[in-house]
Symmetry: C2
Subunit: 265 residues, 2 copies
């Protein structure tokens, strides 16, 4: 009723607090959270207590700071395996990265945003979570546009509506119309470019990862700089990427309903 859309229920509030703690990316004190929070002191306090007690947050009584808890780490592993194509794609990303020698991104759609779920750098393999887990805009990234172009019409429209169309660079598409036109081109071309639309000097080529049913599972991109590549030379990588994308899709498909695997450590 007041400002944000979804604010329902205690669970929602608790999750907001979780997000808030996560956003700091480091242990936070109560007062810091209180400042950036909409909730009254007592409410925030109790939510933090609940979350801590539940193991979603950890509390260091020395520093008086809250951090994300181990229960979340445990869920993290499960989430990774269940909700993401990342574990399936991992070996293929490795191979592609090795052969192409440029930055490789694996992404999925998260509401109206791009969620990067994995990344490879060329020379020195980059620390897994260093950038994966970040979100980016859909309308001005290669993977974003690629995934959007092959999305089902209703989802596509919704996402197009929800973009901010902030002009990051001279090449950024800044209207729904321009974006729709671009999506048409991408569809007929079969892949997407990012022509310095998000950051100057950064270009990329991207493909959607599609299930047999045509559902968008994710996106794969190879990113480089204008100093080292042109769109044309990037486009030469597409056949290679297509193979990768095909294999990921195939593997992802067969992973849909695996029987529960018995493991012991």
């Amino acid at each position: 009723m007041t400002e944000r859309s979804n604010e329902a229920g205690t669970v929602g509030k608790a999750l907001n607090v979780l997000d808030q703690v996560a956003a700091f990316g480091r242990p936070v004190k109560f007062s810091e959270l209180l400042e950036s929070s909409d909730y009254p002191k007592a409410t925030l306090y109790r939510l933090l207590q609940t979350l801590t007690q539940q193991g979603m947050l950890s509390y260091d009584s020395d520093s008086g700071a809250y951090a994300l808890g181990v229960r979340l780490v445990r869920l993290a592993h499960q989430a990774w395996r269940t909700a993401s194509i990342a574990p399936v794609a991992r070996p293929y990303l490795d191979a592609l990265s090795l052969e192409i020698g440029e930055t490789v991104h694996l992404a999925q759609l998260d509401h109206a945003q791009v969620l990067y779920v994995d990344k490879r750098n060329a020379a020195v393999p980059v620390e897994m979570y260093s950038q994966a887990g970040k979100v980016g805009p859909v309308y001005c990234t290669g993977v974003g546009k690629a995934m959007l172009a092959w999305s089902r019409i209703d989802a596509q429209s919704r996402i197009i509506e929800q973009q901010s169309y902030h002009k990051f660079t001279d090449n950024t598409l800044t209207s729904r119309r321009a974006l729709r036109a671009e999506l048409d081109i991408i569809c007929s071309r079969g892949f997407a470019f990012d022509n310095e639309e998000h950051e100057p000097g950064i270009i990329c080529v991207a493909l959607p990862i599609l299930s047999q049913g045509g559902e968008v599972l994710g996106g794969l991109s190879v990113t480089s700089t204008t100093a080292r590549h042109s769109l044309d030379t990037l486009a030469e990588l597409v056949p290679h990427m297509k193979t990768t994308v095909g294999r990921i899709a195939e593997d992802a498909e067969s992973w849909r309903f695996p029987d529960q695997i018995k493991e012991h450590v």
Copy 2:
């Protein structure tokens, strides 16, 4: 009042449901969850709705199945970076694994259980998440006993109380008394063994990872089989492991309050 200890609040229940979905490790239908759930149909249904609406779960209307959602994936990444020593320890595990050539585990305490947060196998580096994320007992694993031995007295007592003392093998410690005695030995010895206490034929040597303040950050173990090693030959690896543990602790320390890092993808 009924059976389990903590069952407080709506948030707790919702998180239980999350865990339950996670435990399946694959998309689950409502009826499957209902079967393995303590909650009445309507309650479970509403909890699932809330979680789905919050993005913690995703719902595939085609298959009618729930899976862990993208919001959870996002939180997961953060938790991994913030709450876990795994990202810090990763390169050291790699090195240790390479040099020692046996299975290496990295673990943390999660309530009264051992949470394995990373693992290395000797010959072929094992897929990251294949077994990490699993939990095991404290009282009959090397890392468990190592972490417990150096825990603060109040936490230690609590954990000792909460163990099940199930007799996995002939060597399993099956009483609080025996465990306390073992912890004394471990403390004076400086490291812990697992002498086939969890699985026959499997032995390991383990060290705690301690912060400068003496707080238990995690545990490190090297596991082998009785066919290839004895406790004595495993003990020879301790100095090597001590170095690794020291480096991990040092790095972890400096990560405690990093300034917020600006990143772009």
